[in-house]
Every structure is written in structure tokens, then in C-alpha cells.
């Protein structure tokens, strides 16, 4: 059982290290998905939100970690 829990933890750890980064990435994706659904004619708007949102989230997370 312990081995299974360890494997599960390791698998989750593949994708989530800092919970706030993972949540922020998911939030950006949801916003991009909403924009893509609301404005199907302007797909690039959703694309820009996705790309620059991810870049912004990364920088903000790193700078916050640096200030701790």
C-alpha cells in the first residue's frame, strides 16, 4: 500500500511541484478556453492569452519565490 501511495505521489509530483504555479496555469487555460468559445472568429485572442498568460505566470511565480 505504501508503495502505491509513493508511486501516486511521484506521479502527481511529475506535474505539480508548486501548487500555485499549477493552479495559475490552469486558470490561464480556462480563461483562454472561455475566450476561444466566446470569440471563435478571433482565435488569436485566445492564443495570445494562453501564450502570454503562461509567460506572465512563470515570471510572477519566479519573482515571488525569489522574494521569499
Amino acid at each position: 500500500m505504501n508503495a502505491l501511495i509513493t508511486v501516486f505521489r511521484e506521479l502527481t509530483g511529475l506535474f505539480v511541484d508548486d501548487g500555485s504555479l499549477a493552479l495559475a496555469i490552469l486558470a490561464v487555460i480556462i480563461i483562454a478556453a472561455l475566450i476561444a468559445a466566446a470569440m471563435p472568429d478571433v482565435q488569436l485572442a485566445a492564443g495570445a492569452v494562453l501564450l502570454f498568460g503562461c509567460l506572465g505566470v512563470l515570471v510572477a511565480n519566479v519573482l515571488r519565490a525569489a522574494q521569499r
Binding site: L11, L14, F15, D18, L21, I25, Q43, A46, C54, A66
Partner: protein, 250 residues
């Protein structure tokens, strides 16, 4: 053909570099086991881990074809973003001296110490425990390699270059381990992780966008532009977050 090539080499390079990092980490633990208990439990554990990995791939691989392409792109894109940006963040923080660098020599020392401790507690079961440590290392690091190959290769018929890149990295590390019999401490792991983080994040944005129905300008070439952006922003983040290293403070 041009379109295919714009993804072929990045896919192979990303899979190769990412697998190199994972294989070095697995090798460190297998070598620690071999040093403490010999090659038999280390080798058997590693082989059992490899066998289970092959079973997982054979069992789950065909299921991927049954998932609608857009859904597959979206799920894999999201997982790639989570995985790639996690690596990129950590590599930036390490390069900026916010967190310590990963050191395979230290990992090797810790692994052998842990096995010595286990030896004092459970002498009779030690070969099993040693083999289990080797098994776990190969299985877990191998799962990361499998995920990377599937994530990069699925959807655009890039499984062959991604798989070839991963296989080449694993063979290279295994060969080096067999020859040297010590951890590969001189591999520039953080630089590799930074590079792979950049590439996986770029693939992640591309696939997630495709999964959401976005048609990227320049089609597949957009991946290269995304990678350049992630690289520039990553380097900028290192400069902005950098703390003086302990050596410089002395």
C-alpha cells in the same frame, strides 16, 4: 515535408534531452544499489522496472488511438504545460541561486547511506530492498520518459523521432554508466532542464491551443517562435531573480 521537419528535430531533441536527465537520475540510484549490494539486485530491480514499463506502454498505447484528436491534444498540452513549466521554474530558480543545484554526487551518497541504514535494520531482506530501490528508480524515471515521448509524439505522428531520441539518451547513459561505474556528475543537469523546460512549455502552449481550436499563425513553425519566447523570458527571469551565490558572498 518542411512542416514535418519543423517538428521532427525539436521533438527528437526535446525527448533526447529530457530522457538524458531522467536516465542520469535513474542510473545514480541503480549505481548506489550496485555499490552497496552488488550488481545482481541492482540489475534485477532495473530489469523488472523496465519490464513493467514495457507492459504499461503495450497495454495503454493502443488506447491513445481511441481518444478524439482534439481532446488528446488538449489533455496532453495541459500536462506538457504543467510538466514543462515546472521544470523551467525550477531551472530558473536554481540558475538564480534561489534553490540549490541538483547534485548527482550528493544523490548517490544519500542513496548509499539510505541503503546502509536499511542494511542495519533488515539485513535478511536487504537484497529485496535493494532491488526494490533500483526497480522504483527505473520505473518512476522511466514513466517520465514514457510520458515525454507520448506527449511530444502523439497527434502528429512524431512517436518515432521522440521514441528514437529517448532511446538514444537511455542507451547513452546506460553505456556511460557501465563504463564509468559511477554517477554522471558532470552532466550540466540544470542547463538541460532549462532547455527541456523551454521546449516542453512551447509544445504545451501549441498543443493546448490546438486542442482549444486555435489555428496558430505559421502552423507548426509557431512552436519555434514559442520556444524562442520562453527562452528569452526564462533568461530574463534568471537575471531579475538572481541572488549572489555563496561563493561570491565569501
Amino acid at each position: 515535408m518542411t512542416v514535418v521537419l519543423t517538428q521532427f528535430w525539436p521533438a527528437m531533441a526535446a525527448a533526447f534531452l529530457a530522457s538524458l536527465v531522467e536516465a542520469v537520475e535513474a542510473l545514480t540510484i541503480v549505481l548506489a544499489v550496485a555499490t552497496v549490494r552488488g550488481w545482481r539486485p541492482a540489475g534485477l530491480g532495473a530489469l523488472a522496472g523496465l519490464a513493467l514499463l514495457v507492459l504499461i506502454v503495450v497495454a495503454l498505447g493502443p488506447l491513445l488511438d481511441r481518444i478524439p484528436l482534439h481532446l488528446l491534444q488538449l489533455v496532453i498540452g495541459i500536462l506538457l504545460l504543467l510538466f514543462g513549466m515546472r521544470w523551467l521554474r525550477k531551472a530558473i530558480l536554481r540558475a538564480a541561486n534561489i534553490i540549490p543545484l541538483h547534485d548527482e554526487t550528493v544523490a548517490f551518497k544519500m542513496g548509499t547511506e539510505e541503503l546502509h541504514k536499511q542494511a542495519r535494520r533488515h539485513e535478511a531482506r536487504l537484497d529485496w530492498l535493494a532491488a526494490l530501490a533500483s526497480f522504483k528508480a527505473v520505473l518512476l524515471e522511466g514513466l517520465e520518459v514514457v510520458f515525454i515521448v507520448i506527449a511530444i509524439g502523439t497527434g502528429r505522428g512524431l512517436l518515432v523521432p521522440a521514441g528514437a531520441g529517448a532511446l538514444a539518451a537511455c542507451l547513452l547513459v546506460a553505456g556511460a554508466g557501465l563504463v564509468l561505474h559511477r554517477p554522471l556528475a558532470r552532466v550540466p543537469e540544470n542547463t538541460l532542464k532549462f532547455t527541456v523546460g523551454v521546449m516542453l512549455s512551447a509544445f504545451g502552449v501549441f498543443w493546448t491551443g490546438e486542442g482549444l481550436g486555435i489555428t496558430w499563425p505559421g502552423a507548426d513553425s509557431a512552436i519555434l517562435a514559442f520556444a524562442a519566447l520562453f527562452l528569452a523570458v526564462g533568461l530574463m527571469a534568471i537575471v531579475l531573480a538572481r541572488r549572489p551565490s555563496a561563493e561570491m558572498l565569501r
